[in-house]
Point group: C2
Chain length 332, copies 2
Amino acid sequence: MPELRRDPVTGRWVIFSTERSRRPADFATEKEEPLVASCPFCAGHEAQTPPEIYAVREPASAPNGPGWRVRVVPNKFPALRIEGDLDKQGEGLYDKMNGVGAHEVFVEGGEHATTITAIPGSIFRETVHAYRARLADLKNDRRLAYGLVFKNVGRRAGASIAHNHSQLIATPVVPITVRQEIAGARQFFEYRGRCIYCDILRQERASRARIVLETDAFAAVVPYAARFPFETWVVPTRHVSHFEDASAAELDAFAETVLVVLGRLERSLGSPPYNLAIHTAPFVDAPLDHYHWHLEIMPRVTETAGFEWGSGFYINPVLPEDAAKFLSNGTR
Amino acid sequence: MPELRRDPVTGRWVIFSTERSRRPADFATEKEEPLVASCPFCAGHEAQTPPEIYAVREPASAPNGPGWRVRVVPNKFPALRIEGDLDKQGEGLYDKMNGVGAHEVFVEGGEHATTITAIPGSIFRETVHAYRARLADLKNDRRLAYGLVFKNVGRRAGASIAHNHSQLIATPVVPITVRQEIAGARQFFEYRGRCIYCDILRQERASRARIVLETDAFAAVVPYAARFPFETWVVPTRHVSHFEDASAAELDAFAETVLVVLGRLERSLGSPPYNLAIHTAPFVDAPLDHYHWHLEIMPRVTETAGFEWGSGFYINPVLPEDAAKFLSNGTR
């Protein structure tokens, strides 16, 4: 069973997942390895993954065989496990709990494609609907406080399997980054009575300097204080705190916007490794006036180093206005 | 002039340093490049760096020529610049300031060695004394709030020059990671009336499960909630909040402890890339009862991915007790 430990100074939690572990000495030889040859995510290889939790399938097809377009399975090497009761304990100064949670993989299409823009857009649209379905389901589990949906593309961005996929990790505590973001947004709301993300959207739409792409339902924008070159956020126009409360039409528009932005990143930057993560409100919160779900896309074209790790300061060599202009491709 | 921008939600600052910039399109082709052939840090190449600010030299030698063991020079591509007054401005919702600060490089020995353990230990000892001298000097500059000393080793850890060196960046605001760490330590002090780091040392020395190395003046310990495999902190026994207030004898003992730990990391893990950073109290604070300077060493043997970036949660496949046992080499 994985174990969660809390840093007593900062309150940051760490998951110790020793089942994913190699022996300490194995780290000595870690090198860039080629991504796996026989792909467990390809259609026809369904037996290589744990049984599916959810799938978008042809009407007549049976579970765990071919005929699917999106398939959600438990991670074979889960960071957290769904079985068991939460057991919180102290250890002198320290706090720990057992690693109860969920770790699911969304396989995007049975075809062995390594970029989501290379397959029909309908597959990512159905994946986004699957995110919502899984979040809404996990939210019913009272042991779980938060669900984070994310995607790692490219080995330098932490991907170990190249076949298109996303992941969802549901945790028994609200992650520190989420708590800090929501605390900042709450402080603004208390002071001004408005959602800070709604205000950001208003200012960005007026200035247009950092807009990458805009539709009625979404804006893709390079944030004013972007940590990374070409970092882009996709923000819904309508104020909703929880991703799982977005409408079906919004999810469709979201998938379309994200695909356009990713396509531009790939064409402009030569398919860089990237991470994306949906920032949404905790399961345990009712709808919040002060928080606004959104997606953050982080291309990994620079390395984070000692300064960033030691300070939380970032050094970004590309101004957001220049990045937005480059990614907007003359569309604005 | 670089620009500092503040994320309006989290309060995190980002340095936009466009003089370090390539054009946006240049990111498209970024690949692993070999580290520079003609090394600007080698003895005899002093003219390839800006003039020295500080040096440990042979008595008769002239500045900016050979005869030095440690040489501190301004970074040729500084993230922040020392000239000019601080100019803080709003931009609608947002806050920015000009990039006043310091960015210095500590060249460790004139010999082209790429690991600090391969050259005489006296050079790192003199470098550590140089850290203190430079911090004490920059502290007199009222525009500066914080000085971060760090070291990047290996390209994956963000190093662009292989020759042994450290860096110091002094910033006009206190970095968010430092503020959060000090706030957490202050909260503990308010509740218990003790320094949390002193308490951690006491518990670690009693349990011994995570001790890597111990002397009278320092303990090297794998923290209870280590983010990374083999992450190691070097913590002084004596409670001092500011690194620059350590005694000369403590600095000597510190250098020696760090060299032993780095040597073990290198031998055990095959010279992995790593970052290290000194965590110390802000320039602007008087000595603090609730904060305790220390060093954090972070080997970069795993990738951080979307989950870590989106949540601030870390997944660590190696238990701190196993890492400490591995690094203690049977010495405990």
